[in-house]
């Protein structure tokens, strides 16, 4: 009793600061106790969920495999398959289980194509998972919309394209890129029509994904990329350049040459190796004549191109650059000289004792 009073009395007598401090301390102690309890709860919940997830995953994996092999020769659903569908259907109202089922279906559908893949898509529709995905499209939150679109993409649901397309200019990049992937996954080159209208930039990450999806389907009729090469949206131009390289678009020669004068340096630099790849010799002449005005990056890219398209008439130009201060240009110039005319190369190889020059010559001689 005495102690209690002592503490309370000294508390009341202390300065405001000390009182505040002790109040904070009490608050902290209770907070710590509270979050320790929360931590314990959290860990056991996570552990329980993990075990449950593994168990359910196994069940669903087995169900799905059984479903795929329970079909009869005819096109309709066998009784066994229907039973599996019904059972899965009854489970999906819980988000936890629904997510596991989706990831189970996806685990397989990423790897396989053909009849089996279509069976899986049918299963997705029949179990009603599709309705959940559709409702996500109408949600307000951007990450939910993006997930909805992704699910519809992964299960090849073409019918809802109008509902997906409205998000074409959504402020969040994740939604826009999900939408773009939807269009390209399901409609391949026709899906690229959005490039005509898009004003927002497309990141490299998204571009690579789109290109990979396009390449999944061989023997495609490639879209006409001319208009995209002239787009005011620079990322569209860069994307079109990648398309031109992968699909060997010799027909767009003029548009590509025009890009040599584009205001964006990355475009100017990226176009050069493409011109080389397509063996567009006219470009060589233009670049050679403008060489002094080019930026260093463009100059290096040009020399790399020269390695493929050099001709005897280029020798004087090459000779001008065997002493170029830039290492890479020097290297290319000497290499080309050796290939052009080995005697002249031998003549000039001792031109200077500058160490870089000597090393380059030595390497070129033995390789």
């Amino acid at each position: 009793m005495v102690e209690n009073n002592y503490f309370v009395k000294s508390f009341e007598e202390s300065s405001l600061v000390i009182q505040l401090v002790w109040i904070c301390i009490i608050v902290l102690v209770f907070s710590i106790i509270f979050i320790i309890i929360y931590l314990k709860y959290l860990r056991s919940l996570l552990r329980k969920n993990d075990l449950l997830k593994i168990k359910i995953e196994k069940e669903y994996e087995a169900s799905v495999i059984n479903y795929l092999y329970a079909g009869n020769e005819a096109e309709e659903i066998s009784a066994e398959q229907q039973a599996i569908i019904d059972e899965l259907k009854s489970n999906i109202s819980e988000t936890f289980k629904r997510d596991i089922l989706i990831s189970t279906l996806l685990k397989l559908s990423y790897e396989i194509s053909g009849e089996m893949a279509e069976s899986i898509h049918k299963l997705y529709i029949k179990t009603g998972l599709i309705d959940y995905s559709l409702s996500k499209l109408r949600n307000k939150k951007w990450n939910i919309i993006a997930n909805g679109i992704r699910e519809l993409t992964l299960f090849h649901v073409k019918e809802v394209q109008d509902q997906v397309k409205i998000h074409i200019n959504h402020p969040k990049t994740e939604v826009r890129s999900a939408m773009q992937l939807y269009l390209v996954n399901l409609f391949h080159f026709e899906g690229l029509a959005f490039l005509n209208d898009i004003t927002t930039p497309i990141s490299e990450w998204d571009q690579i994904q789109l290109l990979e999806v396009l390449q999944l389907h061989k023997n495609q009729k490639v879209a006409d990329i001319k208009s995209w090469l002239k787009s005011t949206n620079e990322s569209v131009v860069l994307f079109a350049l990648k398309l031109a390289k992968i699909y060997n678009q010799y027909g767009v020669k003029d548009e590509l040459m025009a890009l040599l004068n584009h205001k964006n340096i990355k475009i100017r630099v990226d176009v050069i190796p493409l011109l080389s790849h397509l063996s567009i010799i006219e470009a060589k002449i233009i670049l050679k004549n403008n060489f002094k005005e080019l930026s260093l990056e463009e100059q290096i890219a040009f020399f790399e191109m020269m390695e493929n398209v050099y001709e005897k008439t280029d020798k004087p130009f090459i000779m001008e650059h065997i002493l170029n201060p830039n290492f890479e240009i020097k290297f290319f110039a000497l290499k080309i000289l050796k290939n052009l005319n080995i005697d002249e190369f031998n003549c000039f190889k001792d031109l200077t004792s500058e160490p870089e020059f000597v090393r380059i010559v030595k390497y070129i001689e033995s390789n």
């Binding site: 000390i18 401090v21 931590l39 314990k40 959290l42 552990r47």
Partner: protein, 468 residues
């Protein structure tokens, strides 16, 4: 006068606590955003793409003969299409090179190096494999020059656009390159110059043939304490700095860089022991001075597992080195401190790092000395002292436990039963058991920096492939 001193101490304490709280809150929000964005990312497409940019992994190695074969094997089986692995054998005195040559069918090759950065010369030369399965491997044997010098050699040799600088015994998870290149490719208006991720502590984890099999909490207090410290720093600190575009350090254990800019600023500084922090600050300065929009990215995913010191001697030595590295870097770049021209780096990051990282141990020691003086003169206001010390202690504990909870809610790597309890115990014990050693190491670090130049420049710092 006394009141002034007290006032300054309290101001300092409240500022540091306040800044931890702010950084913690920002980190939490950033991490939630990141989880939302990346929950369903399909890395498979990028992984197999030939259009994805090429990366060179540069791993300096010094006397790593014991594990180098396995480490290299692990590096060669990452999930990424276009990359090579450049192992720089930095004048090792053991048989690392011979072992590598045998295991990977290496032969010496002629290689033209564009020496953009001056380094120690080659020793035995450059080797590549005759077996197509190991085509990605390049082994470079050079004269000893230290980690920074070896990394610079790697920068010279790489012909790829991006370089990943790592510690050779760091275990990278399979998707590490994919996850770390993503910020570079996703950014539209800003150029990403460097990116880093979370380093996890591998002590007591079961690693076999380069693969992480089982994650365990180590037994020693020292190791557990470091895990807690890393969780606090990574989960409640770095995410915030990334958001504020003020991240000054990417761990030397694993970081991805834009090669052109790294070479453009002159590569790593061989005269500092904190080369990982110093190069980031220099790269950032370069971008700021050239008025280019940029970002240093950070992702909260665990990408890399590394061994932390398990005895106090090594631990103190490591922290001593970190202290000296921080002092060196801050001193070298003092021009940017409080300088509006350098935006968030000058106004936020540098002051924070200077006041709350570099000066904190000094303030703490001064506080202890002053406290001793007060006791000696019988001037102690025990009610104040006890109150504040308890408050500071409880705050630290709370912060640590919040870090533990963040880890549970994000990556939940420590699943085994009983770990939660052990982590909580560490949260309570750490200020008594680990913190004094960190303080000690920092003070010795300061002393060494100012008074022991030999240590700074001498053989010790040059030779060892010291851990990040």
């Amino acid at each position: 006068m006394a009141s002034l001193i007290h006032f300054l101490f309290f101001l300092y304490s409240f500022s540091i606590i306040g800044s931890y709280i702010i950084l913690g809150i920002i980190s939490v929000f950033e991490t939630i955003e990141y989880m939302k964005k990346n929950k369903f990312v399909n890395y498979n497409k990028i992984l197999s793409s030939n259009i994805s940019p090429s990366i060179s992994i540069i791993a300096p190695a010094y006397n790593e003969s014991l594990n180098i074969i396995e480490n290299v094997r692990s590096l060669l089986s990452l999930h990424y299409a276009n990359y090579d692995v450049i192992i720089v054998n930095d004048g090792s005195k053991d048989d690392s090179l011979e072992k590598l040559i045998k295991a990977y069918n290496l032969v010496q090759v002629d290689f033209l190096i564009n020496e953009q950065i001056l380094t120690q010369p080659l020793r035995k030369g450059i080797y590549k494999s005759t077996n197509p399965a190991f085509e990605k491997l390049i082994v470079v044997d050079k004269e000893n020059g230290g980690k920074a010098d070896a990394l610079n050699m790697g920068l010279n040799i790489s012909t790829n656009k991006y370089v990943a600088c790592i510690d050779v015994d760091c275990l990278l998870i399979e998707d590490a390159l994919l996850k770390l290149i993503k910020p570079f490719l996703e950014s539209i208006d800003k150029k990403v110059i460097a990116a880093g991720g979370v380093i996890r502590i591998a002590n007591s984890c079961i690693i076999e043939q380069g693969k992480l099999l089982d994650i365990n909490l180590p037994k020693k207090m020292l190791e557990k304490g470091q895990i807690l410290e890393y969780l606090r720093a990574f989960l409640l600190g770095r995410m915030a700095w990334s958001r504020l575009n003020g991240l000054l350090v990417i761990s030397g254990a694993f970081g991805l860089f834009d090669k052109k800019i790294a070479i453009g600023v002159g590569g790593y500084d061989t005269n500092t022991v904190g080369e990982d922090m110093e190069i980031i600050v220099r790269m950032r300065r370069y971008m700021e001075e050239n008025k280019l929009k940029y970002k240093v990215a950070y992702i909260p995913d665990p990408l890399c597992w590394t061994e932390a010191p398990d005895n106090y001697k090594t631990f103190i030595s490591q922290r001593n080195r970190w202290t000296r590295g921080t002092i060196e870097t801050l001193r070298k770049h003092r021009k940017i401190g409080f300088n509006r021209k350098y935006n968030s780096m000058g106004i936020l990051s540098y002051p924070y790092w200077f006041l709350f990282e570099r000066m904190a141990p000094i303030v703490e020691v001064l506080g202890v000395i002053y406290f001793g003086y007060l006791i000696f003169n019988n001037e102690v206001r025990w009610d104040y002292i006890i109150g504040f010390v308890i408050l500071a202690y409880l705050f630290t504990v709370l912060f640590s436990i919040i870090a533990i909870i963040s880890e549970e809610l994000t990556y939940h790597q420590y699943k085994k039963k009983g770990t939660g309890f052990k982590m909580i115990m560490i949260a309570f014990m750490e200020p008594f058991v680990i913190h004094p050693f960190i303080l000690y190491a920092a003070i010795v670090g300061n002393k060494d920096y100012y008074f022991n130049k030999k240590k700074k420049w001498g053989a010790m710092t040059r030779k060892g492939m010291t851990k990040a």
